[in-house]
Every structure is written in C-alpha cells, then in structure tokens.
Symmetry: C2
Subunit: 111 residues, 2 copies
C-alpha cells in the first residue's frame, strides 16, 4: 500500500460520523445495514449521511448493494486489513513485530 492510499483511508475514517458508520457496519457483518437504519442510529440529516457514504465508498472502505428500494451498506474488511498492515509494517526498525494485524475476513468464520 502506498502512503497516498493510506492517507485516503485514514481521512475517510477521521470523521466522527464516518467512523461510527464504519464501526456499525463492521459489527453488522456481511449483511450490512440500510442507509435508513444507519440514519436512525446516527442523528444526522440524510443528505449529510449520503455525503459520508460517498466518501467511505470512494475510499473503498464500504460497499453497497441495492435490494428493492433499500440500499445495503457493508464494511470492506480487506481494505481495513491493508491499512492495519501498513500502519504496523514499519514498526521496530522495519522488522515486523507482529505476525499479522488483521480484522476478520468476512468469508471466513470468526474465531
């Protein structure tokens, strides 16, 4: 991962509403949550939330799929994994001090 990519991911997460959205989606798992469900939990106007969805999507941290007239958002675990790896890879004079710092893959069983 390049520095620029990391900055994009970090910037996407460095905002209270977006961080909350992402954490809710991480907790929600593969099923995700609809835009409306997220709007209920976070007291923010709909257009504002849409703006933040766009930011997170553009950064690659969340995905969306349409189902009927609902749009389901879900977390992209792989992007978070890449970021965690980037943030830890230069630790300790370049010698990796962790075998792996990663969030669960959605396709695998949670440990």
């Amino acid at each position: 991962m390049e520095t620029n990519d990391a900055v994009r991911l970090l910037a996407a997460l460095a905002q209270e509403t977006r961080l909350s959205v992402f954490r809710l989606l991480v907790q929600a798992g593969a099923a995700g949550l609809t835009a409306g469900a997220l709007a209920e939990r976070l007291s923010v106007a709909n257009p504002t939330l849409s703006f933040h969805f766009k930011e997170l999507t553009h950064a690659g941290l969340i995905r969306s799929r349409q189902e009927g007239r609902y749009i389901h958002y879900s977390a992209n675990y792989a992007a978070m994994n890449d970021l965690l790896q980037f943030l830890t890879e230069n630790c300790c004079q370049g010698v990796p001090c962790l075998p792996e710092a990663s969030c669960c893959e959605p396709e695998k069983e949670p440990r």
Copy 2:
C-alpha cells in the same frame, strides 16, 4: 478509547506529510529524529513542518525533547497501540478476532 480520541488520532495521521513524519519516527525508534533531519527528508517548508509537529503532538502521537539547540521528536508507540486496538475491537460481531494488534513497545525488546 472513545470515538473522539480515535478521530483525533486518525485525523492526525490522515495527511501525507504527517503520516510520513510518523512513519519515519516509528522507524527511527526511541532516539527519534531532529526537526531538521525530518525537514531534510521531506521537502516541506520549516513553518509547515512545525505546524504538523504541533498537530501530531497535540494528538499524542509524538513526543519531543530538547537536546542542545536541537529538538528530537519520537513516536509514541502506546498511542498507536490504542488506536489499532480500537480499530479492531468491534470486528466480527463484537467478538475480538485477534489476541492483540499492537506495535512494539519502545521499552520492550522487538520480537
């Protein structure tokens, strides 16, 4: 760690110059680097760099100590550890999937 604290750390890292500074300091270890040494590596005006040092310091990600007329900056590994933990603690429906996602402590031997 509260969401607000995480946002503060993420925002501090979500900027190209600051992220580069932090990574250089992580690599440099406990000895750290002087402001001048960092300025040499990153082609940014001195006042701009000072601005970013202040941001990183305020977020608690770096520390500074004066030595003669040089100021040595160094990474605060503990802050990064807290952030990594926060980012992974809600993974997988709230069940932690990692024993620990952490960067090396400076006082401990690197594994």
